[in-house]
Amino acid sequence: MAENEYIYYPGCSLEATAIEYNMSVRLIFKALGIKLVEPDDWSCCGSTPAHSVDHVFAGALAARNLAIVEKMGASTVITPCPACLSAFKKAHLRMVDNEEFKKEVNELLEVPYECGVTAKSVLQVLLEDVGLEAIAEKVTTDFPDLKVAPYYGCIIARPPEVMQFDDPENPVAMDKILTALGVEVCDFAFKTECCGAAFGVVKKKMVNELSSKILNMVLDCGANCLSVPCQLCQQNLDLRQDQINATMHASFKLPVLYFTQIMGLAWGYSPRELGLDKHNVRADHLIRSKRSIEEKRREEEEKAKTKKGKGKKGKVKKKPKAPKTEDKKAETKQPEAKTEEA
């Protein structure tokens, strides 16, 4: 497989209800000069429903796609959808750990899967392969009004043994990317609380309660929108926000953006190209005022001159060094905090 190319498994919903996630991802990679190739004739990963039937069966539905990728001579497949990712990783790990399971799965498949493929999230490759520098370099525009709550959803880093990415309790991958874009990221405590999307259709009350908790916390942490890497969360929180408002007697109006859309905006693409018009809760008012990063720099230097030393409010990230003095102590503390006098 060529250097600047990824096998890209969009997943079913990115062809339909989450089409704007697909659009923005493709746009981002185009801008980076990286080609995205879909697995030939890929099929659904099986997701949660398959798991409720049987693990071999579920494994087969996922492994079919991994086998296709393998056949294309690739060792990595990337997907934007955490559910697909989790299905792939679980199938793969179980087949690696358990010969018997592998045998049984392959019996269901036409082309057997030989466990040669690593599945990664789009988020992971953007952070690890592309890198923050490359991401920051491309930034042209700054949106001073955006105050983002980074919401990761439940499974992108959980369980750690399976997902092998970021901190399961306090993930920071998206925080880092958004910060690299110059976007203000709020200290959001519910990064990984489940929004209930899985039961969106069946258990409305349940889902509405869970979702409203999350949206409440978004307001509490002073953010005015969410950034998500998961289309299930996005649809659930955006599409159902009116349902939530109705059943929970709330009046949320919180845009739920894909982090790739925010990247696109910061890189100077138009909301339309990124499919922002496809959301139920529009973000127009938040992205109306914008400025070039040159202006931004100038204005900030001005500010710095007038009043300096005043710590900026709540940024989340733990390492790399956070601006918050408390966190800084937490940083310097690590070597010593252990140090018990002999």
Partner: protein, 188 residues
């Protein structure tokens, strides 16, 4: 709950079965409660997760398989991530669902119906076709207008296709379903 006679009512085979199918040892659990503490669904469950684990240790097959909790679990993995004993609790819940389905104990009909219409769609098209699922589910469940309110929100945004995209190799998917059915039969 009524009295449990541990000498008579402990279904050791069930405990073994779960241990077998999940590869997890339920007796590693020392009931700290961390799973329940972090479970977003606790308030909806009829039994909190740690009690499901406890019931499992006590071999209370009926109670567990009839419980709604095992179906209301969305596999958000919070319990698995936080279990101090490294038990993959979400996986155990998964296995309990599978057993319940196999032995027709399903207490949360709607959830199962939704899963089924999802799988139907998957079986017929190779990929899931959201509108199809929704309609399928609404018919199965009798909640005819569930989420009808969402229609307008997504119409004309190029989000819904009224005709499913079929993959070329959809027969391959069908064969996965068929072969699996066969396996089941053979296993009896």
């Amino acid at each position: 709950m009524e009295l449990i006679n541990l000498t008579e009512d402990t279904d050791w085979d069930f405990i073994e079965q779960v241990r077998e199918e999940s590869g997890q040892d339920p007796f590693l659990c020392y009931q700290c409660g961390n799973c329940t503490a972090g479970c977003p669904y606790t308030e909806f469950f009829d039994f909190p997760v740690n009690q499901i684990m406890r019931l499992l240790q006590a071999g209370q097959k009926e109670t567990i398989l009839k419980s709604r909790a095992i179906w209301q679990c969305a596999t958000c993995e919070a319990c698995t991530t936080r279990c101090p004993c490294n038990i993959d609790i979400a996986h155990i819940m998964d296995v309990l669902r599978i057993i319940a389905r196999r032995e027709n104990y399903v207490s949360e009909k709607d959830i199962k119906k939704f899963y089924d219409s999802f799988l139907d769609s998957l079986k017929h098209h190779g990929r899931v076709f959201e509108v199809g699922i929704l309609m399928g589910y609404n018919i199965k469940s009798g909640h005819l207008f569930s989420d009808a309110d969402l229609g307008p929100k997504i119409m004309g945004k190029g989000k819904v296709h009224f005709f499913p995209t079929n993959i070329k190799g959809k027969d391959k998917i069908v064969s996965i379903f068929e072969k699996f059915k066969q396996k089941r039969k053979n296993r009896g």
